[in-house]
Symmetry: D3
Subunit: 168 residues, 6 copies
């Protein structure tokens, strides 16, 4: 379990409970960055095929990476109350490691709100893309531990996940 | 770890390793269904706010559900090698339970390929939508255990996850 | 006010009130057609400019028509509980008439559900496109009387609006 | 009928009549807001079902609201000559009232053009979503009186519809 | 110049010149395939970098291929009068060859219309993606000779381009 | 062949060859413009039909123009490593000329990166739209010579293609 913070409520909802896209007009335009991670858990032999075995050109990893980058750009189309943001940079690492593939996405913008959702969307779309590739050989794969690990910029300042976070 | 199966390779790739959208023209058009689940892990007080506290109209859960249904329809736009499919039905449950919110999506089609990816996409987009709502009050939330739990229809027949799956 | 019919409930919602995309797997694949209409109300001098005055190539009407056709194809992206449908034909008429521009869209599919929503979306997107063109010269324009006027195909059979409909 | 204003032409078209997306590079970046309204006209018993009757969680209204918010973000994808805009806030009210459901959308941006089209698109997509829910029980519903009621920001200054507008 | 054929008119337009999406309801659902090609012309040193030089993982080619596959799925969103089609397979080759990169896309469907436009869209989006990668090192690159080279299925039967086509 | 320039590498890729969306946060926001051209090559009788013959309202050219403008707005959805940009203006010329139709697109933005890709996408989508219209009467049409002809704004300054470019 994680530590409570001071924020009193869910700003995506009005006092009457109705969903809204929060007005951010008054927020400063600053450079903001967020990093999210996630893990696709499967079998070692499947990870091996993704990493080196039968895919000489490495297109499995490239496909996941491209899908994640494109997914980041679609965030506000997918998440109803997200603001559209001018994403200024995305990097995604897709790293095979034993029985898992680790996915890390860092997104940067110069805008009025943070890019946590964009980083999380990049990770999940990259993860779903890997899932799609391997589901014929492992129906039991799991996409797991999708979380923000660091953010910077904006009024709330820098933040990074402590080592004993909720998803550990 | 999960059990290996007999499928020899990753059909999304050619012998030379290049990504492709596999030709499914010769597959039968049958009714197919898949169910996926996932969990958003946060704090009990946050789950409480989502479920009943300050949201009299229940729009947090409704927003996640609607986002998941719309996400299912965008699957082939997001996952590069997925076939576009005429989705014929989607149901999503978003159930607050202590420190977590459990998400279950069932998707049905009458088509040439299964709808596992559509069910997984529905779960992840619903989960990201919840994440977006609560990130101001819990930066450390985690979307986890996203997995297919059952599928039916198609040549490979019915399947359901055993109770000791990889993501448990 | 219109006549009540016999249908007992709103099928887009479950007994517990949750939204869903209704399962249409068991419905027949038949050819279905729907026609919708709508009216953009402005000033006669504005309609005149749209129709003939300063636009020798007629691109205002063509732009609205193209937008409507493309809008019809986006219906299931916009309306959350709509099924994606393989639209097989669209025709749109955009007819200047005094102080109004009349819009009529007919959409056809061979599928499991009707295309009323596609016809309505075509009309509204065409109407919004006209609104966009003229808003600099008439802030007070109104898009009005958007309604289905006829449908055919499917189990419920043919239907057409009586002359004294609700929106008259 | 509404009052003519001084603007001489339709700026979306060149002197030769060709459609274009008007260059707004030289316009100031300011905070701009627009409010649009519309009405879905059906039967009192249908409105009653939407509002309270069989939908305990209120997901019909929430679904329309979410669809409207997401629709606002798709405006420049739908309306050919609209500029893409960084929407900074959206609020939508969906209010059952006798035989009608009243829809009001307010959209805000900090950009180079106004957000009337975004507000109108939010209203129409919310209205189409309601139409979709009830079309099985009222084929004769009408989406009507879709119009801008107020705008502020930008060079042309504040404006609000007089009580005897064209759509009244 | 190519040989005239017997088709009397442009079916995308009515007798009055208005654009429409042609009704294909009466056409047979058959398996259809189309292959299109195109060429990105740049400098040999740039092609070399794409192919082998500084890109050990080959992600430039993979990126173009993935973009092309995803582009094929967006065809009916981009080309106004195209019918949405259930694409059943896509293969794309991206082959560096001296001063050019050759792109070939083959698309298959089981539907009521052909997939020439999907194959052409796949080629152009893959080509634009390559262009984007190299524009910093070669502003003068050209995407050229984009054309259908073969199609099969449907009433009009098989066709392939003769060696002395218009674009040679 | 074109002249080599000084840029040492392909910035869309990291040292390890992985694709990324380059971070442009540090670049200046300036007004930038790019013009691209392309040619659809067909037969003179087909061009004649497009231009005047059977299409009194000129909707073939208008349809291509509208598709190109809308395509420009979709660039970052189609080209994986493109940054989303607030396009501030688009003009497209579609000019029948003998056996060809010449397409020219000029796009303007106030942003952190150039709009060459947006101009190229506008040209190709307009070209594909024309191709779609005429493919029933000329299977052998070719979309060719798609290239940037001029750009201005940004750090690299103004540039225009010399008369003996690679695609001539």
């Amino acid at each position: 379990m994680t530590e409570p913070d001071q924020t009193p409520g869910l700003s995506h909802y009005r006092a009457d409970g109705a969903a809204r896209m929060v007005d951010v007009s008054a927020k400063d335009v600053t450079t903001r960055q967020a990093t999210a991670t996630g893990v696709l858990r499967t079998r070692a032999d499947v990870v091996d095929r993704i990493a080196t075995g039968e895919l000489p050109k490495g297109e499995a990893i490239a496909t996941a990476r491209i899908a994640g980058i494109m997914g980041a750009k679609r965030t506000s189309d997918l998440v109803p109350l997200c603001h559209p943001l001018p994403i200024s940079g995305v990097e995604i690492d897709v790293v095979p490691a034993g029985e898992v593939v680790e996915i890390t996405a860092t997104v940067r913008t110069t805008g009025r709100t943070g890019v946590e959702m964009e980083a999380l969307t990049a990770v999940t779309v990259a993860g779903l893309t890997l899932y799609d590739m391997i589901k014929a050989v492992d129906k039991a794969a799991v996409l797991t531990d999708v979380q923000v690990v660091a953010k910077s910029g904006g009024k709330s300042g820098d933040w990074s996940r402590t080592t004993t976070g909720a998803g550990a």
